[in-house]
Symmetry: C2
Subunit: 410 residues, 2 copies
């Protein structure tokens, strides 16, 4: 008998029929003698509907009151799922974040979980109850309703699994796991049975948006066994993708796990920058002050006392960043700016590359053979990212996927 926390997203509970499907899946686990805690999101579209309603009243909705409103989305789902379970003869009980209670800090709309009182849930589980918990929400110390921000239901699931020392936290979503790359681009893309926590972070932040990064970090911190799987398939026990944290769980780990890509960025190069200490801060300080997140940063060795300084930002922030840099360029007496938003970032990810040489050269040769020019390169211990022209994205992903043999069964 295991204690399982299952989390279902908005699409999985999008209508009555789907809620009944979730109930059936929960019941299968329950019938096998497992204790099951279910965390649910708001029905798909509901959170956006509520936010739009709030904006009709106040262009920038008051955060405290927005959380009061928006948290109702999950509250509706827990009631419906508990009903579906009871209708099928299973003992079930729903709880809001406040009822559990899940205590967060007071940062409305982006609160962080501080503690979870698991006593009530455990008592229900011991009585054979399925416990249904509203994701995404909690209360601060003063009893104000808070929400964890978008994707916060994943975090609720992982945090509950940590608090209850659950055997596994299963995140049900509309994909059946983490793939070696996007199957819409490479039909031969293969589901990974396992992926390490670090790889998952790289894959998630690089565009394979299966799990919220925060929930993965949380799982890593508390060593929660985390599995991503589809809510639309009939899963067996090793379905989906298991996210692992222990090196020794990954004996059969492939060198490369996948090829991620991201077409949401723009690149900016400040040319002819005086090569002296403090210059990076003089450029990126104002960008940060303008609330723009910078992703890749590349600076090469300078010559003649000058260098070029490049970085990427989200495309939505492209124009704002250019405007922010105008006075900066004058002030630091740089030569000028070249920039473009028709780029893509393609990344080769894998913990195996730590101990295997030649990964970078294979990647670069593969792209060169297709005549794809590399504009920027940045590496970490477990990934190599390159910036290329956007029009080559699919081609680059396909040839890299093939070059690293990812289409073969592991």
């Amino acid at each position: 008998m295991a204690l399982i926390v299952q989390k279902y997203g908005g699409t999985s509970v999008g209508n009555a029929e789907r809620i009944r499907n979730v109930a059936r899946r929960v019941m299968r686990w329950h019938a096998r003698g497992h204790q099951v805690v279910v965390v649910v999101s708001a029905m798909s579209g509901e959170t956006n509907r509520l936010i739009a309603l709030a904006r009709e009243i106040q262009a920038e909705p008051d955060p405290r009151e927005l959380d009061v409103m928006v948290s109702t989305g999950e509250q509706v789902t827990i009631g419906l799922l508990a009903m579906a379970l009871k209708a099928a003869g299973v003992k079930a009980r729903s709880y809001t974040g406040a009822q559990v209670k899940i205590v967060t800090d007071g940062a409305f709309t982006k609160a962080r979980i501080l503690s979870i009182d698991e006593a009530r849930i455990r008592a229900d589980l011991d009585h054979g109850c399925v416990v249904v918990v509203a994701g995404f929400q909690g209360v601060d110390e003063a009893g104000n309703i808070t929400t964890l921000g978008r994707g916060g239901s994943d975090t609720t699931g992982v945090a509950l699994a940590a608090a209850l020392k659950a055997d596994e936290c299963q995140i049900y979503t509309d994909v059946d796991g983490v793939y070696t790359t996007d199957p819409r681009i490479v039909p031969e893309a293969r589901r990974l049975k396992t992926i390490t926590f670090e790889e998952m972070l790289e894959m998630a932040s690089l565009g394979s948006k299966v799990l919220q990064i925060r929930s993965v970090e949380f799982a890593g911190k508390y060593k929660v066994r985390l599995r991503v799987l589809s809510s639309f398939d009939d899963n067996d026990d090793d379905a989906g993708t298991l996210i692992t944290f222990e090196e020794d769980e990954n004996m059969e780990q492939a060198i490369i796990s996948g090829i991620a890509f991201n077409r949401d960025e723009a690149k900016i190069t400040v040319q002819g920058v005086p090569d002296r200490p403090g210059i990076a801060y003089q450029i990126l300080g104002p960008v940060g002050d303008a609330n723009v997140d910078v992703d890749m940063i590349v600076q090469n060795v300078g010559h003649d006392g000058m260098t070029d300084f490049s970085f990427t930002v989200h495309r939505n922030d492209y124009q704002k960043t250019l405007k922010t840099l105008e006075p900066v360029v004058k002030h630091i007496q740089a030569r000028g700016i070249i920039s473009g938003d028709k780029i893509a970032k393609v990344s080769v990810v894998g913990v195996g590359m730590r101990s295997h040489a030649g990964i970078a050269s294979t990647a670069f040769r593969t792209l060169a053979e297709e005549g794809i020019n590399i504009e920027m390169i940045s590496t970490s211990e477990i990934k190599i990212s390159v910036v290329i022209e956007e029009k080559y994205t699919e081609l680059a992903v396909r040839v890299l996927h093939k070059a690293f043999g990812l289409e073969q069964a592991s």
Copy 2:
């Protein structure tokens, strides 16, 4: 400076524009230095939408889970109204029933308020805050979410006014007060500036559905000054209708306050009933066991050891009642049943009739002059109700309204 509790129903908060209107009205009271607590219902249609959603999952929704879901309707409204107030520069704070906290018994979907912790609200009021409270909901001792049943927001308003010892509880609705009768039938119908608690009970239960009876009873019990007024007009201080509890507040009380009517009933007469003790129970016992509420009951003096026994039920229960009585009629050896659902009950209501003779005879003569036959009569200290053929309803209401001079200014 007064402490005012205002309650706004679903129509008054039905969309963003109406919510802003409510905010403006609240701000006028607040700006005059009053402390204001606002109780709101769910936006119109929302509660029905949620119940329909629940029924898609479970034909008879689990009451605990239904309350979890349905209580979200008011929670959305409190957030929106607090935003509207804050957007206009007024300090405001919303509270769910659980946050207040409003403790009820554990009777899901029809809970009764046991106690209200008013400390938090009072602290906010003392800081110049407008407090916005979700109507219709509370929590039981164990922290489960409960609802008070339809119209429960009125009860929340009155209960909060009682707990806070408010100077007045204002129930804003889509009518501007209690009228001498339905203005759609009698255009000369006049708004009553005051009505006694007892008259209000008779008027409400007889079809002038302005306020929930339970909330009026609650107001009577705790001597809450209760006013019904329109949320769509600009009201001055003595707008609407004040419901009074002290006889001496009603020095200028008219003899008759209004003419109420009800077309939702059906009449049933069991004929030729043996006139012996226990016979009323033998007839009405099975009817009550079938969960049918009986309204009027009339039994006249019998002769030759036989009598006729008549009563009215809601039309929805008409067929069920007839079926229930079939074996009863055989068992008590009554002659048979005559019945009809094309009837109306018309009532003359007024505390003044206690001390004025001739009210009944005026009513009966007025109806007789129009050729309207009276099928049943039932009286209390402050009302006379008659059952007539349904087709005469409007005529009867009009002539009685005129006969008692209700169209004149008081």
